[in-house]
Every structure is written in C-alpha cells, then in structure tokens.
C-alpha cells in the first residue's frame, strides 16, 4: 500500500480541484446548432418553420401542374396559377423534365415549363399526382455565403406520377391504370430549395424559394 505523506497533499488537492473544474464545465456541444454552420444560423424552431414553408411551396407547385394538366380551369384562372407559381422560384428558376424514353432531360425556365404543361393539358388531359418521399430536414440544410448574402440550401425529393390520358378516357378514370394512359411514367424529382436572409419592413427574415427541379430517375 502506498502511504500518503505530507508532500503528496498539495498534489492530491491540485488533482481534486482540477477534476472538479473540468466536471463543472458545461459541454458546449450540447447546445451547438448542428443544422448549419452559418454565423447567424436560424434557431431550430425557425428552421422548422422554414422547412414547413419550403414543403408548402413544393406542394403548391405540384398542385398547380396538376390543375394545369387536367384542363378543368378557365384560362383566367390558369394564368393566375402560372403567375403565382412562377413566384415560388428564384428569378432564373428552372424545371427539368424527362420522359422514360429519353436519356437526358429538357431544362426550361419555370414559366416555359408551366406553359408547356398547360398546352399539353389543353391538347390531351394529363393527370399528375405526387408524394413527398424525402422531406426537407432542417439538420441537412447547408449554409453558403455568396457575396454578402447568406444562403441556406437543401432539397426535397418528390415522386411524381404522370399520365397522359387516352383521348376517350372517362373523367373518373384512374390515372394509376396504365391502360387508360397513352403515356405514363414515375419520376423521382429533386427540388432544390434556397433560403435567403433579407431585410424587410418587419426586420430580417428568411425568404424560401425553389431554385430548380431536377430529375433523379424515370421509370
């Protein structure tokens, strides 16, 4: 057994205090926002709101193309749909489209893409449905700085079901029934989201916009 003589006391006291000091220090990592490395990253509850908004914009986009494709609305309503939907995107926002017979897709600006869906729907009804397969997760947002502009980037993956109905298909026909479609495909699409910090009349706020929609896979 080791005996503790007088010269060991200061050493023991030092170690005891050292242990207590480290024990008392809060672990910073418990509080670190792991979502983004932004110098002024939104807090978690704000990120949740922004992610919801992004998802809502994606929903709004697919609702629009669904409405344009079925050709059940008046020309005036379709014009407002196109106008509203264009505003969901950044200024030069693009949408890629690819049929299952093509190896590479066609990229159009959003207004041209919507006009194309509208024209196709007027020619022969299109039924478009969708489901979000990979939602926007706040902790997967990546922060970048472009000039003075802070931008958070993320993506949502959507599976789109597209059916160009046969000319005499009845309105109640199920788009899932391939037999009713002249053409059909299932496309996995990646919706690239941008969030920019902007000064507004109500202080600084993050503006959520769709940057582009790209095709991941068609079958």
């Amino acid at each position: 057994m080791v005996s503790l003589n007088q010269k060991h006391w200061p050493l023991l006291l030092f170690f005891l205090l050292l242990t207590q000091y480290f024990y008392a220090q809060p672990s910073r990592s418990a509080f670190e926002n792991i979502s983004t490395p932004c110098p002024t990253a939104p807090a978690d509850h704000q990120l949740a709101d922004l992610a919801n908004k992004a998802q809502q914009k994606v929903t709004s986009f697919f609702e629009t193309i669904s409405e344009l494709g079925t050709n059940e609305k008046s020309a005036a309503i379709k014009a407002i749909y196109i106008q509203n939907t264009t505003k969901l995107f950044v200024t030069n926002g693009t949408v890629e489209e690819r049929s299952k017979y093509q190896k590479s897709g066609v990229i159009r600006n959003v207004a041209a893409y919507l006009a194309s869906i509208k024209a196709r729907g007027e020619n022969s009804r299109i039924v478009i449905n969708y489901e979000i397969t990979d939602p926007l997760l706040p902790n997967k947002l990546v922060c970048t700085e472009e000039g003075d502009q802070l931008i958070l980037k993320g993506s949502i993956t959507v599976r789109q079901y597209y059916c160009k109905l046969k000319k005499y298909a009845k309105p109640s026909d199920n788009f899932d029934d391939e037999a009713q479609c002249d053409y059909w495909d299932i496309t996995d699409k990646k919706i690239n989201i941008e969030m920019k910090l902007m000064k507004t009349v109500n202080g600084y706020g993050w503006v959520v916009l769709i940057n582009s929609i790209t095709v991941l896979k068609v079958k």
Binding site: S3, Y23, P26, A43, D49, K53, K87, M198, V207
Partner: protein
C-alpha cells in the same frame, strides 16, 4: 488508504459549503416576447444562484426549477429545462452558475413565450394574488411603481430585493413579473391595431371558403382591398413558431395566392396595423393547412 484520504478530503470540502435552499422561480409575462430567438440577458441575471446571509447563517440560494407563465394566455406555468444539469454534479453555486449561464446563452427561447396573445392579461389580478412573493421587472417602464410595488429596471437591484424577500418572508415560490411600457404589442405602431383571430371579421375569410368556385373567390379580392386595406398594404406570413416565412408580400398578390390554395383551412391574424383612416397597411398572419392531403 489513498482512497480514504480522498473521501475524507471531499467530505471536508462539502461540509464547508453553506446551507442550500431551493426556491422555484417563475417568470411571468403579460405579452409575448417579440423578435427573440434567445433568452433576454435578464433571465440569467435574475435566475443566477447566489449566496446570502440571513441573520447569522449563510445560505446558497438555488432558484429552481425555473418556469415561465403567460397572463395573456392562461394561468398555467410551463417548466423550462434550464436545470437539466442538476444530476450531473454537486449543485454548488459556482457549478450551477456555469451551466445556467451557458444554458441561457445558447438555448433558444421557450416557444410558449412567443405564442400570440389570446386574452387580455390581468396584471392587477395576478398581483392581488401573489403580491407577497412577486417582484416586478421592466427595462422600459416609465413608472417607478405598479400597484404600489416597485418596478426594477435593472437585474441587480431586483436581486437585492429578492434576497430581502427570501430572508424575511421565506416564499415557497418567487414570481418575477416582466412588464413592458406598451400594454399591447400593436399600439406602438402609430395607428390602431387588432390582434388574435378576428373570426368573422377576418378579411381573408371569403378567400378560403371552398364552397365557392375559384372565380367567385378571386372576384372577392377587389372588395376586400377596398374595404380593409390601403393600396400599398403588405402581408407578412409567419410560421407556427413565429418565424417570418414570407416577408412583406403585396396584399393583392397574397390574396391571389390563397384564393387558389386547396389545402388552406384557416388564416390566423397575429397583428393588423392600421393607418389613421382605419385601413390595414401591414398584416401579420399564420396559415393553417390541411397537411393530410
């Protein structure tokens, strides 16, 4: 042997500590915190543990647990987890100070404190019930007293008063009422304003009435603008956690958008700022969608 010395030394150190008193503290608000993502610095300054002398005895006062309450929502108290670290070591004043200051520095503010007002806060009623254990704090109140109680504008004098309160009255719970000089968040905009859900007066209601056709809903827009809004009015949309998610959209654009939304079920008005003619020039809203579609 070495272990025995270690235990002995630790026991000696512990025995040197003051007597500890745990007193729950509740921060009571009469309106939501605006534009805050972190706790305001006064939270930590007020809740900071401290040592005080009552008569001949010294006490370590640990204000825990820490709760928040909103007089403009309900009387319930919502616990914070500011003392989540209490099982991690000996809760000395120094140990707790370290963790607590870090918590208030780094943690986002409890979402309950950001929720919109539901009812008029009755400060008088609250003070009537809790006068004996309540201290009032306001960074911007022009009045030195409120219902005969002093209003502290800095945390340190409030802490002094708290020491005195603890020594003299041994309260079971301490309430710190946080008041502002503006009673309603909407009255400081220069015009009049309305808060909360306006129910049948909600100007957007006709636009989310799905019993009407798209054309009928869109046809309502001109009338709504003429009746309720200035020509340059803007709509700011907030998320459910009170984050701006759509800043300053022209009112007409906003109405064009919502009139064609299929998933929109309800629009909650957080705040409507009016000019002198009584027309809304800026309105803050939260959209409630049916997400099961």
């Amino acid at each position: 042997m070495k272990i025995a010395y270690f235990i002995l030394l630790t026991l000696i150190m512990i025995s040197c500590n003051n007597q500890q008193e745990f007193i729950p503290i509740t921060f009571v608000f009469e309106k939501p915190l605006h534009n805050q993502t972190k706790y305001p610095p006064y939270f930590y300054s007020i809740a900071e543990p401290f040592t005080t002398k009552c008569g001949e005895d010294k006490f370590d006062i640990l204000l825990k647990p820490i709760a928040v309450s909103r007089l403009d929502i309900s009387n319930k108290e919502v616990a914070t987890n500011a003392w989540y670290f209490e099982g991690m070591g000996e809760n000395t004043v120094e140990f707790s100070k370290n963790w607590l200051s870090q918590y208030f520095k780094d943690t986002t503010v409890n979402a309950f404190l950001l929720e919109p007002t539901i009812r008029e806060a009755s400060v008088e009623q609250f003070l009537f019930k809790n006068k004996e254990s309540c201290l009032i704090y306001s960074e911007d109140s022009p009045e030195p007293t409120l219902y005969d109680l002093p209003v502290y504008s800095k945390p340190q004098p409030l802490k002094k008063a708290m020491e005195e309160l603890i020594c003299k009255k041994h309260p079971e719970n301490i309430y710190v009422l946080i008041v502002s000089d503006t009673k309603l968040s909407l009255t400081d905009t220069g015009g009049s304003a309305v808060a909360g859900n306006l129910g049948s007066d909600n100007p957007f209601q006709p636009l989310i009435d799905h019993s009407k056709s798209d054309e009928e809903r869109l046809a309502e827009i001109d009338g709504i603008i003429t009746k309720y809004f200035t020509s340059t009015a803007t709509v700011t949309e907030y998320g459910s956690n009170k984050t701006i998610v759509e800043p300053a959209m022209p009112a007409r654009d906003y109405m064009n958008k919502i009139a064609l939304f299929r998933t929109l079920e309800r629009i909650e008005i957080m705040e409507a700022e009016k000019d002198n003619s009584g027309k809304i020039w800026n309105i803050k809203v939260i959209e409630h969608h049916n997400t099961t579609n």
